[in-house]
């Protein structure tokens, strides 16, 4: 079959509000991950490595950083003249002007785009999961099984199953039941939010769903149950391997640490399945005489003179002499000044941690930025572009943002 017969659509419109200040200025898929990447790199690279050539990215919330990051799609080899990457925001037409109301409505509003591409199959992806998956294999199953829709599923531990949408299948892999967050799950196959539909089937379902005033216009809640009740052929495609939804501060931190603790779990070194990203154009990183770096990952443009342990550093991070960074994630351009100590901190773009600051899990107490709703287990998060005062003390479980200059935050600047 021709590559144009399948179109991938990545849902990248959500705010990702549980990531707090990390998504204040950018959509969740644009959040940095794993030293070199943004979260959406995984979905885009999977598309490229699977041989897909037409990818629509549905954006809505703070799309600028994401649009600029994706640009012409060249880093993922998706800058095709025919096909390639399309950014799909909501728009006005002579009949209507609406923001996207749910995952299904977002696709519905882009029916015309999809029709222009004239595909046989549509692959629906989420822009905020970390995994490597060959969608061509899933498509093969979809075609062989003559499915109306195929849903990727993943075995989760039984004790967690009630947090997911659970698929009950028969022996042939056909889905017989779907339960959203069941109290007593009868299976541990969780939906990964990855769907392949025959386009004519999906188009009809979307139109129908759009008419339904009671619908939330959501794939999991509305479209899939409706198709099941209409006895359509829905097939489960089993995925094994690393998969993580990085929707919370805790899971984002864990997924980053996974790269250090079990790098083989999602092998980033596999040259047959590279994860592409937009390159920052910086020189190789430099480790000075006074530095000590263990159990850590880092990338171009870093400059380390201090101590870095079990941490993930993004490009152009500076750790000055005498600073100690442990179990932390430092996003592009962060500077940790002399004598500062960070423990389980996530520091966003360009923030400067002043001299002798003490922050994170090993600092007891509370402060105005304490936020146990989003931050647990001692993780402290810093907004982008902050200057933290020299000598400031920031306890664990904080979400530090700019409100006004105070004893912790000195200033905020554009990065």
């Amino acid at each position: 079959m021709a590559r144009s017969e399948i179109v991938a659509l990545i849902l990248a419109g959500g705010q990702g509000s549980r990531l707090g200040v990390l998504t204040k200025y950018l959509a969740k898929p644009a959040v940095p991950f794993g030293s070199r990447y943004r979260i959406i790199d995984f979905a885009l690279s999977n598309c490229a490595n699977s041989g897909l050539e037409t990818v629509g990215v549905l954006t809505q919330y703070q799309p600028l950083a994401l649009n600029t990051y994706i640009g012409n799609g060249h880093p993922w080899d998706l800058d095709r003249n025919k096909g390639g990457t399309y950014i799909l925001p909501p728009y006005q037409s002579s009949e209507r002007s609406d923001w996207y109301k749910g995952t299904a409505n977002a696709i519905f509003q882009n029916v015309e785009f999809i029709e222009d591409q004239d595909p046989r199959y549509v692959l629906i992806l989420s822009g905020d999961h970390i995994y490597k998956m060959d969608y061509a294999g899933m498509l093969k199953t979809h075609i062989e099984q003559k499915a109306d829709a195929t849903i990727a599923v993943f075995e989760v531990p039984w004790e967690e199953a009630s947090r997911f949408g659970i698929m009950n299948t028969d022996k042939q892999g056909r889905i017989v039941e779907f339960e959203e967050k069941p109290e007593k799950p009868r299976s541990n196959l969780a939906s990964m939010g990855i769907y392949i539909f025959n386009w004519p089937v999906l188009r009809a379902e979307l139109s129908c769903d759009e008419e339904d005033a009671h619908s939330d216009h959501d794939f999991g809640k509305n479209i899939i149950p409706k198709m099941l009740s209409a006895d359509m052929r829905l097939i489960a495609y089993h995925f094994t391997g690393y998969w993580k939804d990085v929707g919370t501060i805790g899971s984002l931190w864990e997924a980053n640490m996974d790269l250090l603790d079990r790098p083989e779990a999602i092998n980033l070194r596999d040259r047959n399945w590279r994860i592409y990203s937009r390159n920052p154009v910086k020189p190789a990183h430099y480790i000075a005489d006074s530095a000590r770096v263990v159990n850590s990952a880092m990338t171009d443009g870093c400059n380390v003179s201090g101590q870095v342990e079990h941490s993930v550093l993004f490009n152009s991070v500076t750790v000055e002499k005498g600073a100690v960074v442990r179990d932390s994630i430092l996003m592009p351009g962060v500077r940790v000044e002399a004598g500062a100590r960070l423990n389980k901190c996530i520091v966003s773009f360009g923030t400067i941690i002043g001299k002798n600051v003490k922050a994170g899990a090993d600092v007891e107490g509370e402060c105005r930025y304490s936020n146990t709703r989003f931050c647990q287990d001692g993780i402290t998060v810093f907004e982008r572009g902050l200057k933290i005062r020299d000598g400031a003390v920031v306890p664990g479980n904080c979400m530090v943002e700019f409100l006004e200059p105070d004893t912790i935050v000195e200033a905020h600047f554009r990065v």
Partner: protein
């Protein structure tokens, strides 16, 4: 408004050979500074100046250069019009300009086809980080036929040294190659600026004379007939003339001033994107005063070294004062001091290699030691 110039980079230099490093590739394609090839610096200077049309004149062994440059997209030179062109030595039975002078005629076609007012011609062995706009403006304002960048390095960094004698107005009055008794410390930086018309005249001239030598040197030798002016380049500039200068230039990047001026002065140095994973440091390493690139896995000890992309340094290996190129694998217990390992070398467990500052041990591409 914008710079009105095209670029021309000479990928080879008949006086410069880097031994084992030159064996598989042109001078311009020799890996340098962890992530780069030598040519990346001049190419980035041109791109950062707003030049959108660059020809790379290659004489031999240009396959790795071709692979490196690709469509030019890493330098944003994959354009519909102009962009990046590799000009190989080329036999074209139709070419009426100079039937036995193929290389020049291909170059002439290229320069004729791209209508920019000026041409910047550069050797690829010179490494600096600056835009050229100001120099092109100064060339145009001066009314000189040719302008040449020089600095006051004198004979430092060894031959070939093209020394320039200049009068008080800045005109070149003498050009000496590797002189015994230099009259001046002004040394050509291997970058000249001239108008497209003059270049076409000179090339036609050469072709008519059957002279196929096209080099910065041969242009400068015209100082008797043409008005050639020197413009001083005052920033940090590295010259790669042989293995010792390659080694010392690399090591100078470990000094903060050089590092800052070449990499952190605001102008990006573009290179081919490789999409390697981030570098990973294991629990046992000890690293100091070194550059490390993406894709490396560092478990051993490393000091005063330059490590390219995708290198593995196993536990209990000791590497110092060395240059380790792409995808080298260093096994457990290896000891290296003053060594240059070319791409894809494998050093087996327990091997020890020790060179000297002026005589580093050089191991060719793909060797298994």
């Amino acid at each position: 408004m914008f710079i009105n110039a095209m670029g021309l980079i000479l990928a080879d230099h008949k006086r410069i050979q880097l031994g084992e490093l030159s064996r598989p590739r042109a001078l311009a394609a020799i890996p340098f500074a962890g992530r780069y090839r030598i040519i990346d610096f001049m190419l980035s200077n041109m791109v950062n100046s707003g030049i959108t049309c660059v020809g790379v004149l290659a004489q031999q062994k240009y396959k790795s250069l071709m692979d490196h440059l690709g469509t030019g997209s890493s330098w944003d030179l994959d354009r519909k019009k102009q962009g990046l062109s590799l000009l190989p030595p080329y036999i074209n039975s139709l070419n009426l300009d100079s039937s036995d002078n193929d290389n020049l005629s291909g170059l002439l076609d290229f320069i004729r086809a791209n209508r920019f007012r000026n041409v910047v011609i550069a050797n690829s062995n010179v490494i600096f980080n600056a835009t050229l706009n100001d120099y092109v403006s100064r060339h145009e304002d001066s009314g000189a036929d040719i302008s040449v960048l020089f600095n006051r390095d004198g004979f430092k960094s060894g031959p070939p040294a093209i020394m320039l004698g200049m009068d008080r107005k800045g005109s070149i009055k003498d050009v000496m190659i590797n002189p015994h008794k230099p009259v001046s410390n002004r040394r050509s930086a291997g970058v000249v600026i001239l108008s497209r018309e003059i270049l076409i005249d000179l090339l036609n001239d050469n072709a008519a004379r059957g002279d196929s030598d096209f080099s910065v040197e041969s242009l400068l030798r015209r100082y008797m007939e043409l008005r050639i002016c020197g413009i001083e380049y005052k920033g940090t500039l590295l010259r790669i003339n042989d293995i010792p200068t390659y080694f010392s230039s690399t090591m100078s990047l470990l000094e903060e001033k050089t590092r800052r001026e070449l990499f952190w002065a605001g102008l990006p140095v573009y290179t081919k994107v490789k999409d390697e994973a981030p570098a990973l440091y294991g629990p046992l390493n000890q690293v100091s005063n070194s550059f490390i690139s993406d894709g490396c896995v560092i478990n051993g000890s490393l000091a005063d070294s330059m490590v390219f992309r995708g290198v593995t340094i196993s536990a209990h290996a000791k590497v110092s004062n060395s240059i380790i190129m792409q995808d080298v694998y260093i096994s457990e217990g290896v000891e290296l001091d003053h060594v240059i390992l070319d791409k894809n070398c494998v050093i087996r467990p327990g091997i020890k290699l020790v060179g000297q500052k002026d005589f580093p041990v050089v191991i060719g591409k793909g060797a298994i030691v």
